[in-house]
């Protein structure tokens, strides 16, 4: 299968990037750990590391340096083709607007063709639950921002540290904006249910 040229973060490019960036050959266990630490919010499936390491090796992007007694101990290293592929993705520009495949938008779209009050009430509850999930993620990201800011006040960090703080601030804002969007949409639907909003 030809490599994906999408600028979006796929599990494939995340796994490849972790091996490329690693200090020497990486075990499957190491890759899985970093994927969870750095891209936990992407919620890739658990078996994704194994599958992608295998496929990337078959495709000539990685090579198996040593097979471990257990799969998690197997060591992988990037081939030149893999490094090139990752670097291309890293610097790729995104000339087109990203594809909008938002599940909420899709649900609203389906409901606009045939909707009952019960459907809206159900959606309101789903939105409330989703808002709470996003709020928890916001709290975690804000915790990281807070800790990093405190450390930077103690002693100025390296360029990497500064970039890490920017990334954490960006992640916190992403979750905060998600909370805000879900809340606004929920309130609109609640007003629709209560009759406060005119049904044109």
């Amino acid at each position: 299968m030809p490599p994906s040229k999408s600028a979006a973060l796929s599990a494939r490019i995340a796994v490849l990037g972790i091996v490329v960036q690693g200090d020497g050959p990486q075990t499957l266990g190491n890759v899985a750990l970093r994927l969870a630490e750095d891209f936990g919010a992407a919620r890739f499936p658990k078996n994704t590391v194994h599958q992608n390491l295998r496929n990337l090796t078959r495709g000539g992007y990685l090579r198996l340096v040593r097979e471990g007694a257990e799969p998690s101990y197997s060591l992988y290293e990037a081939e030149d083709k893999g490094i090139e592929e990752f670097m291309e993705w890293l610097v790729a520009s995104e000339p087109d607007p990203p594809a909008l495949r938002d599940a909420l938008q899709a649900r609203l779209s389906f409901y606009t063709r045939a909707v009952a009050r019960g459907d809206i009430a159900g959606l309101v509850e789903k939105l409330r639950a989703q808002q709470q999930h996003c709020a928890r993620q916001f709290a975690v990201a804000h915790g990281n921002v807070h800790l990093e800011q405190a450390q930077r006040r103690e002693q100025p960090g390296s360029l990497n540290d500064a970039l890490y703080l920017i990334r954490m601030e960006d992640e916190a804002e992403l979750w905060g904006n998600a909370v805000e969007r879900l809340q606004k949409l929920r309130i609109r639907l609640e007003r629709l249910l209560s009759g406060e909003r005119s049904q044109r």
Binding site: V20, Q21, G22, D23, L33, R34, A36, E37, D38, G40, I83, F86, M87, L90, Q132, A135, R136, F138, A139, V140, H142, G143, N144, V145, H146, L147, Q149, R153, N160, Y164, E169, A172, E173, G176, N177, V179, E180, Q183, K184, I187
Partner: protein, 256 residues
């Protein structure tokens, strides 16, 4: 740590004709010395109403507001006004009514409220402006300085008298990313140095990130979004979560 400000189960309604509109329903907020608490919400959700109740500018319909061991609603109007000038300072982006140089604008509350000599008040005002890096605008007037300098001048004016509590309404919003960050740093540094508590309203998430505790307005109620003070870890809707840190040492780009 002892509570500096405790807003307990307050409610506030307004009358629109014959209809009573609830703005705040059973809202509680606590601010401790040395902590920044941000209340985030869209315009018209009740942030400013809450801040006015917390500062003692407006009376509550239900509930209590305490500053240390004093209940604000039990104080006379005069005592509340005096608190507002000294221990509590209100800060927003409204243009000041005094048409005097920035130095005197910052010095005015000291000279008037605390009966300090004008010379001493001016000297303290200059120190406050210098500390925020805008000593150069001391002789200029409000209309002649930039929006950013106005934010810093307002901060200088609010902190020059060493208040216990700053109540900040929408000061950090719409400044742009780098200015918001800079204003947040300046505020944190003042909090660290002077030890006052801050209750502030914001509309932007990036402005909220400077806070130790963040609360979100949702239909007139306040929801705890995150608590990074020593009392809390991270929390939402009263569910306390374990603090999670996702950082390792292997993120250097040099390895590429």
């Amino acid at each position: 740590m002892s509570e500096l400000l405790a807003v307990r189960n307050v409610g506030k309604s307004y009358w629109r004709g014959v209809r009573e509109v609830s703005v705040l329903v059973d809202v509680s907020v606590q601010v401790d010395p040395g902590h920044v608490v941000a209340v985030i919400g869209s315009r018209g959700e009740g942030k400013t109403t809450l801040l006015k109740l917390a500062a003692g500018l407006d009376p509550v319909d239900r509930g209590e507001v305490w500053l240390g061991d004093r209940e604000l609603s039990a104080l006379t109007e005069r005592a509340r006004r005096r608190l507002l000038g000294h221990e509590i300072r209100w800060l927003d982006r409204r243009e000041p009514s005094l048409r005097v140089p920035i130095r005197d604008l910052v010095a005015a509350p000291l000279a008037m409220g605390r009966r300090r000599g004008l010379r001493e008040a001016r000297s303290l005002a200059l120190g406050a402006l210098d500390r925020l890096g805008i000593g150069a605008v001391a002789e200029q007037r409000w209309g002649d300085i930039s929006n950013w300098e106005r934010v810093l001048a307002a901060l200088a004016g609010a902190t020059v008298g060493s208040p216990k509590l700053l109540v900040i309404d929408d000061l950090l919003d719409g400044l742009g990313a780098s200015r918001t960050e800079e204003a947040g740093r300046a505020l944190r540094s003042l909090v660290q140095e002077m030890g006052f508590g801050v209750l502030m309203s914001v509309s932007d998430w990036d402005a909220a990130l400077v806070a130790d505790r963040i609360l979100n307005f949702d239909g007139g109620r306040l929801t705890l979004m995150s608590d990074q003070t020593s009392q809390g870890t991270s929390a939402t809707d009263a569910e306390v979560l374990p603090f999670e840190r996702r950082r390792d040492g292997s993120r250097s780009m040099n390895a590429c």
